[in-house]
Amino acid sequence: MHLNEEELEVLRIIENNSRIDLKDLAKMTDLSEVDIEITLKKLEDMRVIVRYLTVINWAKVDEYHGVTAMIDVKVTPKRGVGFDEVAKRIYKFKEVQSVYLMSGAYDLSVIVEGRSMNEVASFVSEKLSTLDSVISTTTHFIMKKYKHDGTIFDQTEEDKRIVVSP
């Protein structure tokens, strides 16, 4: 679908801050507040804006124990539906965060989140690898997140400039 420059600009801004005030958003663009509301609604309806997300560095929270694994999955595609059918069976599990069809050594890349390594392990062995078309799985646990979705974790923004300059 074709978006105009204003719609693109709104997307670029909220991509980095979905909580921005509508008033401020209007001031930053060439649109009025009402236009902004209409634009956002339209983008939501078209599912260009799919969801408003918060990126949290859970590793900072002491009580939090969660693990993420990236799983390389080899599958046999089915006549007529290719990889779509098996992908659909996989992405419906709530543990599954993302599913991508990949080129190269394996077919699907599946990202799974669980409360513990055990939980992820049993999901893989009991649910994923037992699917008919799944030939093999290779599980990689993520040990530390440095950068996620374009955001660098654990980086403090410090202004190194002197307060007044030419």
């Binding site: 600009e9 401020d24 001031k27 663009t29 202004d159 190194k160 400039r161 307060v163 007044v164 030419p166």
Partner: protein
């Protein structure tokens, strides 16, 4: 016996920059939100920094050619052609300098005989008039006004010309007003420049930061290539102020003369910075585009906010400065800036620092994060309520 002063009269008589004075005031306070910074808030993009690290690892620690790495000059030549439709030969028309600052310095010192005049359009970058003076010339200032959106009019230009006039120094988009001259305005100015057989020194350091209208280089105007010295660099558009890297493009005769000066005074620009700049030109244009978009948003935001709180502000077409009028507060720009600093801890630069016609205005840089801008603007709004009822 000791002389009364060891310092040359020219230097002794130069006024220290008003920016410096204001910096000293602001530096002693804590919790200051600054709109006083005349440089990008972006850190140079990582790919460029990485290229510099690589250059060090490869052991590029010696001088380059006086005019700069040939590869870099070629890339600059291509960049000028592609962005601004002007052709300069890398062999003898481009010199890589230590910032736009050194480019301005060698341009002025190369063209001026003692006592010749250079027309300087105020409000302007604080270094212009002193650089002319230090080159032995006489700065002749023309005051622009907010009624003309701080644009130099052809009539003003013509009126300032005397038999001693050698050149006109133009900056667009401008520091401190953000004003950008459109193609038609340049054509009208060019007619007068040609009529009086003058040179133009065109400071295009903010060329990449034009938000509404495509930037036109003075050299691209009909008949101006042979009488324009283009000053440009990496400081602002590429967020590389600390690298100290600029360049100057000029007709061969002038460029070769400038090279003599550059060669004796500077040898060459820093090698590491040149390698970094090469990477910036080759692969950095998308970063420039993103930074430009971000400045544009903030420009819109700050200008609308100023007008909402009663600080009349024209819409600047480029650079990262807003230059609102503070006249209705009844304060001078110095009073306003000092009060704002001490009462609300917001640093802005008083407009008179950039020349007489800047009086009644303040320069506010929006090269700051949105959070900083929001904080500064809400403090300024409170300040306006307290002082303007």
């Amino acid at each position: 016996m000791i002389k009364t002063s060891y310092v040359s009269r020219t230097i002794a008589e130069l006024k220290p920059s008003g920016i410096r004075r204001f910096f000293d005031l602001a530096a002693n306070l804590e919790g200051v939100v600054s709109l006083g910074v005349g440089e990008p808030d972006f850190v140079t993009s990582w790919a460029v920094r990485e290229a510099a690290i690589n250059s060090l690892e490869e052991g590029y620690t010696s001088y380059t050619a006086n005019a700069g790495l040939f590869e870099l000059r070629s890339e600059i030549s291509w960049y000028m052609e592609k962005q601004f439709h002007v052709s300069y030969r890398p062999e003898d028309q481009i010199i890589v300098t230590v910032g736009a600052s050194q480019a301005l310095d060698i341009a002025l010192r190369t063209i001026l005989n003692p006592g010749e005049e250079v027309i300087v359009v105020e409000p302007c970058f604080v270094a212009y008039a002193p650089l002319v003076t230090m080159a032995g010339g006489i700065p002749v200032t023309v005051q622009t006004s907010k009624e003309d959106d701080f644009k130099l009019t052809p009539e003003q230009l013509e009126a300032a010309i005397t038999p001693k006039t050698k050149a006109v120094l133009i900056c667009s988009p401008n520091n401190p007003t953000g004003t950008q001259l459109g193609q038609e305005e340049l054509v009208m100015l060019a007619d007068i420049v040609k009529k009086h057989d003058l040179l133009v020194i065109s400071d295009e350091i903010y060329a990449e930061l034009a938000y509404d209208e495509k930037f036109t280089s003075f050299a691209a105007i009909d008949g101006m290539l042979e009488r324009t010295i283009v000053i440009n660099g990496f400081s602002k558009g590429f967020a590389m102020t600390g690298w100290r890297l600029g360049f100057v493009c000029a007709p061969k005769e002038i460029s070769e003369a400038m090279l003599k000066l550059h060669q004796y005074a500077m040898m060459c620009a820093p090698t590491i910075a040149q390698h970094a700049a090469l990477e910036a030109l080759k692969h950095g244009m998308q970063d420039v585009e993103e930074m430009r978009r971000s400045y544009r948003r903030r420009r819109n935001y700050i200008v609308k906010s100023f007008n909402d709180m009663g600080l009349d502000c024209h819409n600047p077409g480029g650079a990262f400065y807003a230059f609102p009028s503070i006249e209705k507060t009844g304060m001078t720009s110095m009073e306003f800036a000092e009060k704002l600093l001490t009462e609300e801890l917001v640093a802005v630069v008083p407009g008179d620092v950039f020349g007489e016609s800047g009086e009644g205005h303040i320069r506010c840089s929006y090269a700051s994060s949105m959070e900083q801008l929001q904080e500064a603007l809400s403090r300024m709004e409170r300040f306006m309520k307290n002082h303007c009822q």
